[in-house]
């Protein structure tokens, strides 16, 4: 099977008065149809930048410096503005953080949905658009009556599901959800995640879930990518990530998690994430790393594929060449 999404060496830089900040420094990954990838990292690690870059929605002072984003054979970076407008939502959809607050309060849900369809294809009849919207609402487990409602009549979880419904209206091949449940309580959160899961099965899309809730990742995704200072540190299957993380940062992240067995043990990661404008030399994690070696301070580790198929950027796993 061909991967539905291929990101090759994607780079984003923000040009600020204080200097250049490399918010995304050469990220590469692949996703198969129906696969779910979790993208985790601390705030400022470049998760959302990566999502925005994939959508080509980076605004100045930020700039995409290079790389490719290939969705179903098309490199999004080579499209014209016009073509990119059409590609958004139909090829690749983005559900931004706090999407539920982005619904227009004075427009009915239905009008906002048909608007999105109309913007992509003006030849679709009104009744067809309604039909498509109803189907999308059904697939996120909302009643048809929601079509005629205003956002204030819905609860947070329902609004979030409306946003998912809009995201999948045109059956995109890739759906990016940026912290879709961060403002919701656990029960609603589970409902929303189950909705995404079901919808994904229906349309066979690849899903990228961005967030820092490792619990959610453990329950939902197939693969986890750990980011730090705009770089991918490790990419592993969810089972490998939680049972045998390789990168020292991933290890620290996993052991900082509370679970039922280690009650009362709080193991944070010592130190703070560095500012992007003043990144440490070599491996950016070396000042906080417990396994730091001389080489880490000078040479940046490559993001390599290990013999067991896992991807890590760490000198500990440098295989002799």
């Amino acid at each position: 099977m061909e991967p539905v999404l291929r990101i090759i060496n994607l780079q984003v830089t923000y040009y600020t008065d204080a200097g250049r900040a490399r918010a995304l420094d050469g990220a590469s990954l692949e996703l198969m149809p129906g696969e779910k990838l979790g993208l985790v990292g601390e705030s400022g690690s470049g998760k959302s930048t990566m999502a925005l870059a994939m959508m080509r929605m980076i605004k100045p002072p930020g700039r995409i410096e290079g790389g490719q984003v290939i969705v179903g054979g098309t490199d999004l970076m080579t499209l014209s503005e016009e073509e990119m407008l059409k590609a958004r939502l139909s090829k690749i959809a983005y559900i931004p953080q706090g999407a539920m607050n982005s619904l227009n309060p004075v427009m009915r849900i239905g009008a906002q949905m048909t608007d999105a369809i109309y913007a992509h294809d003006k030849s679709i009849s009104k009744s067809e658009m309604t039909e498509m919207s109803m189907q999308a609402l059904e697939s996120v487990d909302l009643k048809h009556s929601v079509f005629k409602m205003y956002p204030h009549e819905l609860s947070g979880g329902m609004k979030q599901r409306v946003c998912i419904a809009i995201g999948i209206l045109l059956r995109p091949q890739v759906v990016i959800a940026d912290e879709p449940t961060s403002a919701l309580d656990v029960v609603t959160q589970r409902q929303v995640m189950e909705t995404i899961d079901r919808v994904q099965d229906q349309i066979g899309a690849a899903v990228i879930l961005i967030g820092h809730d490792m619990g959610l990742m453990a329950q939902f995704v197939d693969k986890v990518a750990v980011m730090y200072t705009g770089r991918l540190m490790e990419l592993s299957s969810v089972r490998e990530m939680f049972t045998d993380p390789r990168h020292p940062y991933a290890q620290a992240l996993i052991s900082s998690l509370p679970n039922l067995e280690n009650k009362g043990v709080f193991q944070g990661i010592p130190g703070l994430a560095p500012a992007l404008l003043r990144l440490p030399s070599g491996c950016t994690f070396h000042p906080r790393c417990t396994h730091v070696m001389e080489v880490c301070k000078t040479a940046r580790p490559e993001f390599v594929t290990l013999s067991d198929g896992r991807h890590v950027a760490c000198h500990l796993y440098a295989e002799p060449t």
Binding site: V186, H212, Q219, V238, I254, N259, G268, I269
Partner: protein, 338 residues
């Protein structure tokens, strides 16, 4: 035993009937009683989903709003009747840490401002030097390096650092009671552990009682001794945090705990079906507040269920536990461990 804080049958009703609303009122908290003792500092979690009344509880406790009925006593005095010196003491001894570590800072002042204001307001220091010593001491106690913090502006600090400054500010005033309303929900997962650790140190080293308000049962489990689970303003289940999280009894608590996404690959999300959509639960009768969504709903659930003592340190407000001895709400605090 002297009582630090006492909620006596506190009810808070927000009445509707505004200009555009259809009228009707919301019972945000119904008939809650709880007690904290002065000599036994503890960490108590109040858990529940959005709309369960947990923030109302915090607001009541801080005296920002007053109860519709019932009384809130702080060291035996009704907090709504506190005046003069007593009121200032109350304001100093009961402190809060709020959810959003970004919103509490004034971006035009260095972060010192957040610490110097209370020092001046409560006359905690006689000289500038003493004030600075106090600030350094408080910041060190929460695990920050004062030289990295003092003189900086809020935007130069991370969310975790800011939230710890909030804790330091509370600590500066040597409170007896700290209300922490979702203190870690907006902080990165990797920093949560540090803040929770700081809170726990406050309790053990400084003898501060903490009411930890959250919807995140994972952190609640790690930090608290006892837990009260609220749903739409009513107590569903309460007790020892280990018992409640590991062996939840009330159908609502079971659903809640089943929905926790544990960061553990071998512990899958539960199979309990989530019943009822949010829109269907708008009206609740006088009975059990979970009635509309409960898979075990019975006819008698239309009457409000009393609390039953399901085990030594666990009380459940549900008719499924009828055979257990009933306890009056006022005695609820007695079975909570400290």
């Amino acid at each position: 035993m002297p009582k630090l804080l006492e909620f006596k049958n506190v009810t808070k009703i927000y009445s509707g009937g505004g200009f555009l609303s259809k009228g009707g009122s919301t019972t945000a908290l119904s008939n809650l009683s709880l007690t904290l003792n002065e000599d036994e500092p503890t960490i108590m979690t109040v858990a529940g989903e959005s709309g369960s009344g947990k923030t109302t509880l915090a607001m009541l406790l801080l005296g920002f709003i007053s109860p519709t009925s019932g009384q809130i006593l702080y060291r035996g005095q009704d907090i709504s009747a506190l005046k003069g010196e007593d009121r200032i003491t109350f304001r100093r001894e009961v402190q809060a840490v709020f959810q959003d570590p970004f919103a509490v800072f004034n971006p035009f002042y260095p972060v010192d401002h957040l610490l110097t204001v209370p020092i001046k307001r409560f006359k905690l220091a006689k000289s500038k030097n003493e004030a600075r010593d106090r600030m350094v001491e408080a910041l060190t106690a929460v695990g920050l390096h004062p030289q990295d913090i003092l003189g900086r502006f809020p935007h130069q600090l991370s969310g975790g650092q800011r939230q710890r400054i909030n804790v330091a500010r509370a600590l500066l005033l040597q409170p007896k009671l700290l209300v922490a309303d979702e203190p870690v929900s907006m902080v990165d997962a990797s920093l949560r552990a540090n803040i929770l650790e700081t809170l726990r140190t406050l309790q053990t080293n400084y003898g501060v009682s903490i009411i930890y308000i959250t919807h995140d049962l994972t952190t609640a489990y790690h930090i608290a001794r006892s837990i009260i689970v609220l749903y739409r303003g009513a107590v569903m289940e309460a007790g020892d945090v280990d018992t409640v999280i590991k062996a939840p009894q009330h159908p609502y608590t079971r659903l809640l705990i089943d929905s926790i996404p544990w960061p553990d690959i071998n512990r899958r999300w539960g199979e309990t079906e989530i019943k009822a959509r949010e829109s269907d639960q708008s009206d609740v009768g006088p009975g059990c507040r979970f009635y509309a969504r409960c898979p075990f709903a019975m006819d008698k659930c239309k009457n409000p269920p009393p609390l039953f003592r399901a085990s030594e340190h666990q009380a459940v407000s549900c008719y499924l536990f009828e055979e257990h001895p009933q306890i009056v709400p006022e005695k609820l605090s007695d079975l909570l461990p400290v």
